[in-house]
Structures are given as structure tokens and as C-alpha cells.
Symmetry: C2
Subunit: 259 residues, 2 copies
């Protein structure tokens, strides 16, 4: 009976962006009750509230103070100001930011923490990809509650201290934002040369998927790893007019060969 | 009847590495007859031949001269010497290299070309990922035959001239070899800080998969794209002792912000 009550928490979601929307949907589908959506923009609050069968508000005073859990999915700089606007009665509150201390929530409630989804979330997605959630809590009870909430929508779930979460966030920047920037470079190059970037998709997807079986070090291939100077010279000749790509090519080739 | 004969070609495979093995399996499963495997290393030739129900040989003189198609999956430098060892009677021959001219096969047969799989192939794979094949032929008949062969095992199949194939090969280096090098960097960083790199896998796979729906430019996110200097400063502080990663971080951040 207790477990049942526990897994059906009354939740207020603060935010209406990609993270608020996707986590809100997941929590709703897991059987939790979304009581309210807060967003500065009333239209966005109303749209998400309608989808999640919740009420909406766009002023701080109107926030429902009787929920069990407050999920804050705001931009990092908005998090810093949150304690000026919100005071709870010891209910659980957590933010979703990978690189912000849980202590920004100190003063809002005695039970607070972090609920960081280690995934690229977009509200337009029809199917949500698997999500890992990293949690951190101000006390044992907060940790336990956040863990249960996270396990109801994600796997794996892990407790990490702030420093390690920040390190993981940094590693995520490399494997997602920086990797995507390489995709952008390749797409531009393809467009310049009337090649369809989509032809590379099976290779792009396999390069990611094979990490389920192999370590990246064990599958590093290509002209640089083979010290294949003939092919490298051909590539450099092709890149002559494109200074920026040429720089990237030389940097990566050198770095791969140094390993 | 002609179509049936056509799709059941007698094939000699020259090579026994990853590409020879994976393409050999695909051709075998598509109903073609693998008559012979040639490899310098007799053991490797025998092993692959046994799997594909073929004979094997490891001297050039012993190569069967009565097949319909000779698939050459050798290292680029070995391709340059192939015409010293092999002379065919106008049968079709093609190599699998992305960055080598088809003209290295000139003199071996009047029907020659390229059969380049745009994919990362490993013989240990239990399931082969989808493969695109890029073809090029010395004449219309060679193009048509290579197209039909490629379509029997891959999709999409496309004819590209040498310059465009080389450009696509270069783009593939960016989205596969260079992307994998970023994975290597992140894995090392995780290991140094006692973090399990595998936690990043759902994010890595989603970052690739979302390109099926979005262009990379439209999904470029992260602290750099948001000009989020607070997070960038936190990351730079974390990276202080790790010079190489710090350099990569600054280069990518600058490049993303210039777009």
C-alpha cells in the first residue's frame, strides 16, 4: 500500500521546454499525477498542461504548494534565481541540470536534489529513446525518493556526487555536442560537393551502435590509425580549398597517430 | 532465365580480411556461388573458404580463371601491385577500396570497376549492419553488372565517379574515424575519473539515430551552441590538468560558436 502510494506522486513541473515536456510525459505515462505546469509563457504552460491532464500557471504565486514533488527543468541561469520566487513546505524538489549544484535549491525546501537525464531530449520526438538518470539528494530520504521516481521512468539510474556528475556532463559534451559538430562539418562538405549526407547514415549509426559490443579504442580504424600516408595525402589534396576542414583533418590525424 | 543466371554469379574473392569476409558472406547468402578464396595466408584462406563452401588458394597461379566476378578486398598498397600477378579473360573484377582509382585494375581485364561498401565491417559481427555500396565501372556493361551484384546485398547502391567517391570517403572519415576518436577521448576521461563510459551509450546512440529525422545543424545543442559561459568555465576548470582534452574542448567550442 505504501509502495503504491509512493509510486503515484503528485508532481508540479516547472518549465515547458524539451526536458520538462519529455520527462513530464514519461512521469505521466508511468502513472504519476501531474498536478500543475508552471511556465513564464502562459501559452506554453497551457499546451503542456492540456497534454498531461494538469492545470497551468505562469506566476510564481500561483504555484500549487500541496504536491509531493517539484521537478524544475529551467535554463541554468534561471535556476540561480529560483529561491527568490519559491518556498516549499519540505516537499521534494529537484532540478534537471547536469552542470548546476543542487545547492541552488537550498532555502526552497529541506528535501532537494538533482534529477539529471543523460540524454538528448526533444519534445517533437514520437518515441523517447532510453534515458539514464543521474540523481543526487540533500539527505537519504531525498535520495531514496529521487531514485524511486527515476526508476519509474529510466534505466540505469545512478547516484553521483556533484563533481562526478559534472565530469559525466563534460564527457557527454564530447560524445554528443562535439560529435554532432563533426556531423555538421561533414554535412556542409557533402552539400558543397553535391553529395547526399544521408548516404553516410548507415555508417554513422553503426559507428555508434558497435560501442555496445566493442570499446572505442579497439575499433579505431581509418587512414590515420593505419598510418596510410597515400590516402591521407589524397584527402589533404581534396581539402586544400577548405581551410577549416583541413585543420580538423590534420588535428584528428595527428591525435589518432599519437595514441 | 537470363536474370536467374545473372543473379547466381560464380565469384572468386581475393582477400580474407574484414571486408572480404563480410561481403563474401553476404554474397553467399544472396545465392551467389563463391568458387574460391585467395589469401596470402593459407590458414585464413582455408577458414573463410570452409565457411563459404569454396576452395582456397594462396598462390597467384592457382587462382581459378573461370569465374564470372573477382572481388578484390586487399589493402590499398597491395592493389597497386595486383596487375603484376593476375590476368583475366575479360571477366568482371572490382576492388572495394574507397580511395583507390579503378584504373589500378586496368590490364587485368577489360571489365573492371569499384565495389566500395560505405560501412564499418568487422568479421566478428554476428549481424551485419545495413550497407550502402558505391560502384564505378570501366564500361556500361561493367556498371550494370556491378549494380546488380551490389543490389543483391546492399541498399542504397549508387554509381559515383572517382572524385565524388573520394569525397564521400573523406566525409566518412569525419563521421566515423574522427567521431570514434572523440569516443576514445571521452572513454579515457571517464576511466581516469572512475566513471563508466557505458553510461553514455544511450546518448551516443541517440545522437546518431536522431539524424534519421533531423539535420545535424538543426540539433546542435550544448553549452557552446547556447553561449553558456558559466558551464563552459566549469568544464574548462575541470579540464585544467588534461591539456589535450582542454585543447579539443576549446577548439570545438570556438568552432561551434562561429557557426
Amino acid at each position: 500500500m505504501l509502495a503504491l502510494l509512493f509510486f503515484n506522486m503528485k508532481i508540479v513541473i516547472i518549465g515547458s521546454g524539451n526536458v520538462a515536456t519529455v520527462l513530464g510525459r514519461k512521469l505521466f505515462l508511468a502513472g504519476h499525477t501531474i498536478v500543475q505546469i508552471f511556465a513564464r509563457n502562459p501559452t506554453r504552460a497551457t499546451i503542456l498542461a492540456a497534454e498531461l491532464n494538469a492545470t497551468s500557471c505562469s506566476t510564481w504565486n500561483a504555484i500549487n504548494k500541496t504536491a509531493d514533488f517539484y521537478l524544475v527543468a529551467l535554463a541554468d541561469n534561471a535556476l540561480e534565481e529560483l529561491s527568490n520566487h519559491l518556498l516549499l513546505n519540505h516537499q521534494l524538489i529537484a532540478h534537471t541540470a547536469g552542470a548546476v549544484s543542487k545547492e541552488v535549491l537550498l532555502g526552497i525546501s529541506s528535501n532537494y536534489g538533482v534529477f539529471y537525464p543523460l540524454q538528448s531530449l526533444r519534445k517533437e520526438m514520437k518515441e523517447t529513446p532510453p534515458i539514464s538518470i543521474i540523481i543526487e539528494g540533500s539527505n537519504k530520504k531525498a535520495v531514496q525518493q529521487l531514485q524511486n521516481l527515476a526508476k519509474s521512468i529510466a534505466s540505469p539510474v545512478e547516484e553521483l556526487e556533484e563533481q562526478q556528475r559534472l565530469q559525466l556532463h563534460l564527457a557527454a559534451v564530447f560524445v554528443s555536442n562535439f560529435v554532432n559538430h563533426l556531423y555538421v562539418q561533414a554535412e556542409k562538405y557533402c552539400t558543397t560537393h553535391q553529395l547526399n549526407f544521408k548516404k553516410l547514415l548507415p555508417l554513422i549509426i553503426e559507428t555508434a551502435n558497435r560501442l555496445q559490443t566493442y570499446t572505442p579504442t579497439s575499433v579505431q580504424t581509418g587512414p590515420a590509425a593505419r598510418f596510410d600516408t597515400v590516402t591521407i595525402e589524397k584527402h589533404l589534396a581534396l581539402l586544400q580549398p577548405e581551410t577549416q576542414l583541413l585543420n580538423w583533418y590534420q588535428l584528428f590525424t595527428k591525435s589518432i597517430q599519437q595514441q
